[in-house]
């Protein structure tokens, strides 16, 4: 059984490095599926974009190496991303600037 390798942040905090999936034009297209659920169909997956800090990466599949499985933990919400390189990109800064000016009241609070 191969070891699953989870990457930590370099600041010594013990927190997990979570990359940001920047939706939009990009080399990555995740597999999608539609599942009938509740009041309407749920569209799972099927997103297009790129890993913010690895713009040329063409797949989100884990990489199997001799050391183990390099697991890429990723989110499409910039507010949940922790990877320092992803957070340094212009796309990330623009996305966070948008949320910074968003009214946070009631259900919109986040």
């Amino acid at each position: 059984m191969r070891t699953l390798i989870r990457r930590l942040l370099p600041d010594g905090s013990g927190k997990i490095r979570i990359h940001w999936f920047c939706r939009g034009p990009g080399p990555i297209k995740t597999k999608g599926r539609v599942v009938m659920f509740g009041i309407n169909p749920q569209h799972l997956g099927g997103a297009q974009g790129k890993v913010a800090c690895q713009a040329s990466r063409t797949s989100l599949l884990p990489e199997v190496t001799g050391q183990g499985i390099n697991h890429l933990e990723i989110t499409d919400d910039p507010r949940a991303a922790t990877c320092p390189e992803c957070c340094a990109t212009e796309e990330y800064k623009a996305a966070m600037a948008n949320y910074a000016t968003m009214y946070r009241g009631g259900a919109a609070a986040g």
Binding site: I16, L44, I74, T75, D76, D77, R79, M102, G110
Partner: protein, 166 residues
């Protein structure tokens, strides 16, 4: 449509869970119109009253993400991963202490769907009861989290969502 997921809460690892993994539940809220003169107690219509999503998990590792979630309202001494609950912040907004829950699939071939689930406003469920045994057995820590809605911008539109997926 199967495969395990890794999880983080507030970017701290949640660790290994029981065989059920992350159980995602949805309750569709509705007001039933089922008491009419013409149709008696037949359900003839309903009014949509929202939906509630939550996640249940049973941790088998005493990991930081799990222990910190249990103490999301504060510790007596800020020490991630240590059990030091404090009675404070009573009366404060629940969402203020919610943090992102990020689940990422492990399997690549065949790939699990969705690849990732992010609930940016996730926290303990109100009235949640957690119990763990301090004995010579695997210590299991069950948690129930709610996904409070939040605003997300995709392209040019903004919507309120309980979570998003890739």
């Amino acid at each position: 449509m199967s495969g395990p997921y890794t999880g983080t809460w507030d970017s701290s690892a949640i660790g290994t869970l029981s065989d059920d993994g992350y159980e995602i539940r949805c309750t569709i809220q509705g007001q039933e119109v089922n008491e009419t003169d013409a149709y008696g107690q037949t359900l003839v219509e309903a009014i949509y009253r929202g939906q509630n999503w939550r996640a249940l998990m049973r941790g088998l590792e005493w990991e930081v993400g799990l222990v910190d979630a249990l103490q999301m309202f504060g510790q007596s001494v800020v020490s991630p991963g240590d059990l030091l609950p404090a009675l404070q912040n009573i009366g404060d907004r629940w969402s203020r202490y919610c943090k992102p829950l990020v689940l990422t699939r492990i399997l690549g071939d065949p790939p699990s769907v969705p690849l990732s689930l992010t609930a940016t406003n996730a926290g303990l469920a109100p009235q949640m009861q957690a119990a763990f045994n301090m004995t010579s057995k695997v210590r299991e820590l069950p948690l129930e989290m709610v996904f409070l809605p939040y605003a997300v911008t995709v392209g040019s539109s903004t919507k309120n969502v309980p979570f998003t997926t890739i």
